[in-house]
């Protein structure tokens, strides 16, 4: 990138500023609970979308500091309480970024558990070491003090918001956008015409990185573009 292009990137004003928002969640204890994989399957089919969201998207936020071995609550329970590593691996492979609706996540998880029980009928009835309690969350969207009108402000805001804001824009966003992308990449592409950087940000692996890592990597991508 030439120095003129870099200067242009530094000073280019976005038509639409980026408003950093965040979400706050209050956990509700659900009515469903499962003591076997069979009961889990039944509850997965009938529980609210909020519950599926909680145990897949939201749990990533609650455990954002863990780099490995934690992807969603269903996988964790299958491993730690049911001693079914094969099922746990399959469930852990569900990447929420591939989905633009919670219903689609539910279908995928139901399919995995159903198929596993079909091929391992005894596993469906074996009592787990501890029950799985379905929870859900009530969500409140909040503004933050940060607004970006250009790329340096965007990087600065990203560095200063909470990890909840990073989760809101980077992970939850796809449910809002109905796109397999995120708010950061969309803004970089549409407002800054930085397709390559947008793609690189979108490819940050949330299952091997913490949300702080996501923040650092995204800022690094922007800084590289600005050099």
């Amino acid at each position: 990138m030439t120095s003129a292009q870099t200067l242009d990137l530094r000073t280019r004003a976005a038509r639409k500023p980026f408003y950093f928002n965040t979400s706050a969640h209050l956990l509700r204890i659900g009515r469903e609970r499962a003591t076997t994989l069979g009961e889990l399957l039944q509850a997965l089919r009938t529980c609210s979308e909020d519950s599926i969201f909680q145990h897949t998207f939201r749990t990533l936020e609650e455990h954002h500091f863990i780099r490995e071995g934690f992807s969603n609550d269903f996988a964790h329970w299958a491993f730690s309480a049911c001693n079914e590593p094969g099922l746990a691996e399959r469930l852990a492979g569900v990447d929420v970024r591939e989905f633009t609706s919670v219903e689609a996540v539910r279908e995928r998880i139901v399919h995995i558990v159903d198929a596993y029980i079909q091929s391992n009928p005894r596993a469906g009835e074996r009592v787990a070491r501890e029950p799985f309690y379905f929870c859900a969350s009530d969500t409140v969207i909040l503004p933050t003090a940060f607004v970006a009108h250009n790329l340096p402000e965007f990087a600065d805001g990203m560095a200063r918001v909470s990890v909840h804001s990073i989760h809101h824009h980077f992970i939850e966003a796809r449910l809002r956008l109905k796109l397999t992308s995120n708010d950061f990449s969309l803004w970089l592409e549409e407002e800054m015409e930085m397709k390559k950087a947008a793609r690189r940000v979108d490819h940050i692996d949330i299952y091997t990185a913490t949300l702080e890592d996501v923040r650092r990597q995204a800022i690094r991508i922007i800084e590289l573009a600005l050099q």
Binding site: A24, I29, E130
Partner: protein
């Protein structure tokens, strides 16, 4: 042959003889030659004789270095729409106990956020509090026969408090069963009423729960500390994990000189691994099991065991348990048993910080705030998979969950010989607490609940 006894460092308010005078039996020769200076000093620990004056409650800005400015900004944004709204907290005691401790910190912080919060304490005679103590035990699963007379006394005191109190606030929060019947003060006005249950209702006495349940279902919502503690109810149930205050005496950062001094006073050698359990001398905390686990581990790894707690001075059963622990410890000079008064928060803080590993091998547990405290200090923690502990300790990610003495012994050996893995558990554990179990998170939960309740009310 004379039975050799373990030293117990005992610090009590009453002018009892020093431990060196009452525990005069000789100690066994040490397996490894070490300086005896530390053991001598253990005899005269310097801890305060009386409770220190409580420090002023922290202000919101005091938490900035701990949770970051962005987190505090989020609290202010959540609170912004609640300005001018009022909340009332009602419980049964102003001092002592976890609920009062939490409210002492929570109420000033909510008020600082311009959510005016009043705290009222119910009153009652001895007969009332004897009944509510019996209810407490019964709700934990104890046997109890609920008579009509008991019900009448319970309702009478609640009615007296109802007549004395005013309920003009937008949100009324009733803590625990004692004031539950105040719900009868609800008069159809706009206020929302929430019941905050701090106790484990997973296996309640059916008579007591059958009596309380119709009252609870008159509230707009109930709050529990863990999904495992909840009951099926007709009202929404929210999950509020208990929390610790990172600025309290028990959890604030300490200068290493304080940690060193505490260890010197208690005769703990910081150059060698220290395994610690902090808890009352209570069978449900299984201190004897911890001694056995330590002894099994000690065959393979060098370490000291610190059992620090209280309850042996004012509780006859505690004294018996302390005796059992002392006997189980035998003549091992590396087992340090500390019977501390309840105001030794700073000393407990220092002991936790000095520890290489922290153990909580309870047989039954509430939420297990001693685990939260250890995790917050970044300590690799080994804890039983009981009560609320699995909410905090995610096996091999934020700590090690165990189910037996043998499992505990193995994890002591493993973590002492794999310090990098142990350090990773400690780091994750601290982050887990920061995200989920700190006072600031608790403030956010209350604010969110208030907003959600008002939305449901159409306000």
């Amino acid at each position: 042959m004379e039975t050799k006894r373990q030293q117990v460092v005992e610090v009590t308010r009453s002018p009892k003889p020093l431990p060196s005078e009452i525990k005069s039996a000789p100690l066994a020769p040490e397996p490894v030659k070490r300086e005896n200076r530390s053991r001598e000093r253990r005899n005269r620990p310097r801890v305060p004789d009386t409770p220190p004056a409580p420090p002023p409650p922290p202000r919101l800005s005091d938490y900035e270095t701990i949770v970051g400015g962005a987190e505090l900004d989020e609290l202010r944004f959540v609170a912004r729409d609640l300005r001018g709204k009022t909340m009332k907290m009602v419980n049964s005691t102003a001092v002592g106990g976890g609920v009062a401790e939490m409210l002492n910190r929570l109420v000033p912080l909510l008020t600082e956020l311009e959510v005016s919060t009043h705290w009222d304490v119910i009153t009652g005679g001895n007969d009332f509090f004897e009944i509510t103590k019996a209810f407490h035990n019964a709700l934990h699963g104890g046997d109890y026969h609920l008579t009509k007379q008991v019900q009448e006394i319970f309702m009478m005191y609640n009615e007296q408090n109802r007549q004395r109190m005013h309920f003009d606030e937008d949100l009324v929060v009733i803590h625990d069963p004692q004031p539950a019947a105040l719900i009868n003060a609800r008069n159809g006005a706009h206020a929302r009423w929430v019941w905050r249950c701090h106790i484990d209702l997973s296996n309640p006495n059916s008579e007591v729960w059958g009596f309380l349940r119709p009252m609870i279902e008159k509230f707009d919502a109930a709050i529990f500390s863990s999904p495992t503690f909840a009951r099926k109810l007709s009202v929404p149930q929210y999950l509020f994990y208990p929390c610790i205050d990172p600025l309290s005496e028990k959890n604030k950062d300490l200068d290493d000189s304080i940690v060193q001094k505490t260890c010197d006073d208690f005769g703990i050698d910081r150059s060698r691994p220290i395994v610690t359990q902090v808890s009352r001398f209570d069978r449900l905390k299984d201190p004897v099991g911890v001694v056995h686990a330590y002894k099994m581990a000690k065959k393979y790894v060098d370490c000291q065991l610190v059992l620090a707690g209280g309850g042996a001075s004012d509780d006859p059963e505690g004294a018996v348990v302390l005796q059992e622990v002392t006997e189980a410890a035998g003549d091992d000079p590396d087992i340090i048993i500390l019977n501390l008064p309840p105001w030794c928060a700073l000393e407990i803080n220092a002991l936790q910080r000095a520890s290489t590993l922290v153990v909580q091998k309870s047989l039954r547990e509430g939420f297990g705030l001693t685990v939260t405290e250890a995790l917050w200090k970044g300590k690799p923690t080994i804890a039983s998979a009981v009560g609320g502990i699995p909410n905090q300790v995610i096996h091999k990610l934020t700590g090690a969950l165990v189910h037996s003495v043998e499992g505990c012994a193995y994890q002591i050996r493993y973590l002492l010989t794999h310090p990098e893995f142990a350090q990773k558990l400690g780091k994750n554990g601290r982050e887990h607490v920061k995200e989920n179990f700190l006072m600031t998170t608790n403030v956010k939960r209350w604010l969110l609940l208030f907003r959600i309740m008002l939305q449901k009310n159409g306000s």
